[in-house]
């Protein structure tokens, strides 16, 4: 005969975004996408890194990311939410977010972020991605 024991681990957190992601989130608050470029090897990343993952030792500069990207892959979850992974020309990495364009997206589709009118410095400042006209 074995019994059952229930317990919970609960705690609030205050996450500092660090240096690079603070630049990214402040960029979102201002309605722009920011990335980083390595001053040594020129590789660019979005979201930005404060250092170059390839070189490790070198410095980076923060740069604007073009407003339009392409869907690399997408999926629909059980409750109907559609998620897309969007990559941007010239940048490694990309952004995972919701697709709010109606219907299904497709691989290679050109999309833009739909920013909310009131922004606070969060990934949710983007409501989702929609097809660019």
């Amino acid at each position: 005969m074995v019994g059952e024991f229930r317990y919970a681990i609960e705690n609030p957190y205050e996450y500092p975004a660090g240096f690079a992601l603070s630049v990214f989130l402040e960029g979102l608050r201002q309605g722009t996408l920011k990335g980083s470029r390595c001053t040594s090897c020129s590789r660019s990343y979005v979201p930005p890194f404060a250092f170059c993952p390839h070189c490790v030792e070198s410095k980076v500069e923060y740069v604007k990311v073009p407003g339009e990207g392409r869907v690399v892959t997408w999926t629909r979850t059980a409750d109907g939410t559609v998620l897309v992974f969007v990559a941007f020309e010239g940048f490694e990495g990309g952004i995972l977010h919701r697709y709010v364009g109606g219907g299904d997206p497709s691989e290679g589709m050109r999309v833009r972020p739909k920013f909310r009118s009131e922004r606070i410095g969060s990934i949710l400042d983007i409501e989702g991605f929609e097809p660019s006209r």
Binding site: Y15, P16, G18, V56
Partner: protein, 384 residues
């Protein structure tokens, strides 16, 4: 098996809150370590060994991945070790295995901790270390265990709080000479005794604080080490020892697990009489009494460390300088990083780079960390 040396070390500041993200913190320590080595690009480091304590503090359960980009580990083998607070020195021990085995010529060992995100304080999450069914319903906090052990230790050797408080005075003063210390200060025994009682007999100044920070050291095999530096610091003895998790079954007066680990490490390093042959000691000091408790284990004689403290022998100019770095009480306690900081201190001491903290004639050093529920002993012995 071949000899392994530490050929460089670097660390971030230890602070109660660092605005860096965890990868940024790690990268800062790694860059400073590689700058210290000078002549090696990250591309030629064969692998990474990382250590960080409970995931609950960082708040996301992806520790190895956090270290990846920051330590230049993409495409390379990376291993994580975890033994609670002992992780920092355990990282050096496991790192030694990697290089001594012949499988890695160079290895970056990094340890970090981010304890600032939990709101309002990381203390509540320490509760997850206690057994959920029999202990957590009592609402314990981690300081309880230390207080229970401190009371037992005081009883076993008839020690006063005044004597034990001298460890805080010594270590915080030592930390004034450490460039990355969080808590270097000139305090007195009265300051410690007058600070708030947290869990009697532990007062606030008996405790090292929670901190953010990262440390990185570079290990190399003998041939490579001699090409990279004129002052390799050899790791000649390593050992790990765990005692039972049923800590309420054990007499807490003597850290048997530290003693056993130290004996193994001494044997490996060819040390027959540690009291005579070791020049620098870096015992783990999350609490004042803990430095003495662990030193008893390292020296193999219960009650000897407090006697040496009383005679002033644990100061930097004494015969048994302990925590010349300033220890956790002085530099800070980002859990895993604190242990590796002590190994890095041995590197700085034995290569004569410790500046104002330098212990004269430092040829052989011992660093030790401890963890989990009063049960982990990890020891390294280094030689110039």
């Amino acid at each position: 098996m071949r000899r392994v040396a530490i050929v460089g070390a670097g660390m971030t500041d230890f602070r109660s809150m660092l605005p860096h993200s965890s990868p940024e913190m790690i990268r800062e320590a790694v860059k400073r370590c590689l700058d210290d080595v000078g002549s090696l690009s990250i591309r030629y480091v064969d692998g990474v060994l990382c250590a960080s304590a409970p995931d609950a503090f960082d708040g996301y359960h992806d520790k190895v991945s956090i270290a990846n980009e920051a330590a230049g580990a993409i495409g390379k083998p990376i291993t994580r070790v975890f033994v609670g607070g002992g992780s920092g020195v355990a990282a050096a021990v496991s790192g030694w295995y990697h290089v001594a085995s012949g499988l890695f010529d160079t290895l970056l060992v990094v340890a970090w901790e981010k304890m600032s995100p939990p709101y309002p304080h990381a203390q509540k999450l320490f509760q997850t270390i206690f057994e959920p069914v029999i202990e957590q319903p009592l609402g314990p906090n981690l300081i309880w265990i230390f207080a229970l052990e401190m009371r037992r230790y005081m009883e076993a050797h008839n020690l006063s709080k005044e004597l034990i408080a001298e460890v805080a005075v010594k270590n915080k003063a030592n930390a004034l000479d450490h460039p990355h210390a969080q808590l270097g200060a000139k305090i007195t025994v009265e300051d410690v005794l007058r600070s708030e009682v947290m869990v009697w007999p532990v007062n606030r100044l008996d405790i090292s604080p929670t901190s953010d920070g990262a440390v990185a050291i570079l290990l190399a095999s003998e041939d490579v080490a001699r090409k990279l530096t004129d002052t390799p610091v050899w790791i000649d003895g390593v050992a790990t020892c765990l005692d039972s998790q049923y800590w309420t079954n054990r007499d807490l007066a003597f850290p048997y697990y530290v003693y056993l680990a130290a004996q193994k490490a001494y044997r490996m390093a060819g040390i027959k009489n540690p009291l005579k042959e070791v020049d620098v000691w870096e015992p783990y000091d999350p609490f004042t009494y803990k430095e003495l408790h662990h030193l008893d284990g390292l020296l193999g004689k219960p009650g000897l460390a407090p006697k040496l403290l009383k005679e002033g022998q644990l100061h930097r100019d004494g015969d048994y300088p302990a925590s010349p770095s300033g220890g956790l009480l002085g530099v800070g306690n980002p859990i895993a990083a604190a242990g590796l900081m002590k190994v890095a201190e041995l590197y700085w001491q034995l290569s004569e780079r410790a500046g104002k903290r330098q212990v004269p004639n430092a040829y052989v050093g011992v660093a030790q960390a401890w963890g989990d529920l009063m049960q982990v002993g990890t020891v390294v012995v280094c030689r110039r």
